[in-house]
């Protein structure tokens, strides 16, 4: 779904409490959020529970989304990521008052997505398919170098050096 359409649905949710619009957002996002958690090795139960929490945040907090700052999908991804961090923190038996700490550790970036769009396009253009795949496996799916080496059937040293050279290559397009 295009960003424009998603933003429109989000507005209907925040301004009119439009359940039909929310149902559309649910149908679009729930399978992505759920898949993201499963890819990050959460159980089926945990994935669905967190998916529901993320969508509840969208339902209650859609008014905090600012279309001038980011695309809607980036905003949703950030919420999903934060919920995953909170889950890991909970698993480490933290005290309830500790939960505030995460908010300081992951506050919103002052740079808007639109300021960096040209760098993003350039990186997408310049990285080949294998390099994009390595970035995806390593950072989006959070696979260890060892697992990546097994899945791609290449030595672990090659995985490390390819990731390093990909990150170096990206540096050129970051300024």
């Amino acid at each position: 779904m295009e960003n424009e359409k998603l933003v429109d649905l989000a507005k209907k949710v925040s301004k009119n409490r439009d359940e039909g619009a929310f149902s559309d957002l649910f149908d679009f996002f729930a399978p992505k959020i759920n898949a993201y958690y499963l890819k990050n090795n959460l159980s089926f139960e945990q994935s669905e529970e967190l998916t529901q929490e993320v969508l509840s945040v969208i339902w209650t907090k859609a008014d905090l989304f600012n279309p001038q700052r980011s695309k809607f999908i980036t905003w949703v991804f950030t919420i999903a990521r934060n919920k995953k961090i909170d889950l890991h923190r909970k698993n480490k038996n933290r005290k309830a008052e500790d939960e505030d700490v995460r908010l300081y550790l992951y506050q919103n970036n002052k740079i808007t997505d639109y300021e960096v769009q040209s760098s993003i396009d350039k990186i997408k253009q310049e990285l080949d398919e294998n390099q994009q795949k390595l970035i995806k496996m390593s950072f989006f799916e959070q696979k260890s170098h060892k697992i990546i080496a097994q899945e791609l059937e290449i030595p672990i040293g090659t995985v490390k050096s390819r990731i390093r050279s990909t990150l170096n290559k990206m540096q050129k397009f970051l300024s």
Partner: protein
Amino acid sequence: MNTSSQKNELIFGYSSGSLGEAKSLLVSTYLYLNTFASKKASIFNNILAENFANIKDVAPKKINFKDCFYTTKASIKESSTLTNSEINPLTNIIGSFDKINWKSVFKGFKEFTLPLNDDDTIKLIKMDPGTSVPLHSHNGKEYILVVDGSFYDEHGEYKKGDLQINDQRIKHHPTACDKDGCICLSITENEVVFFGKFASLLNLVTFVKSFFK
């Protein structure tokens, strides 16, 4: 020395949510102080969000959209991460630098260990103007973020908002600049290894200290 890939790896780790609390605090302070780093984080976040947009869908089986209307669990606290906030994460956690209970390590060099719950230890280090740390290297990685003042070593000068990442290949001899001295956030993954005149004594102290961690 090429640490741009190490810095990018660290920021990517932050964007993906894989770092522990100590490194997350280091990076969020880095982003707060350094616009270029902040830009990188924004770029990486978008790259991850594009992966998210293109993921192969797996529909949840047990929940439907109406369940989301009644969940109270959806934390109200999220507000500050969902809007734009420009608060210094470091002072938010420890308060003002003036009120820190510094522990003196040697003349001109003080430290304070931050109360985070993590395997990595994160410290604030305060060096008076002109104070040096003897030549040393590291068994693991060392991350040094300048949060006030500046320091220099064999590799250059580091000012407020600069991050230095050192690994075992790097030997250095940092000195706080004459004018303001230096306050840094630092994470050392493994023991420091000293070289030079008093090296054996300093290494013995480090070894003994490691038992009390």
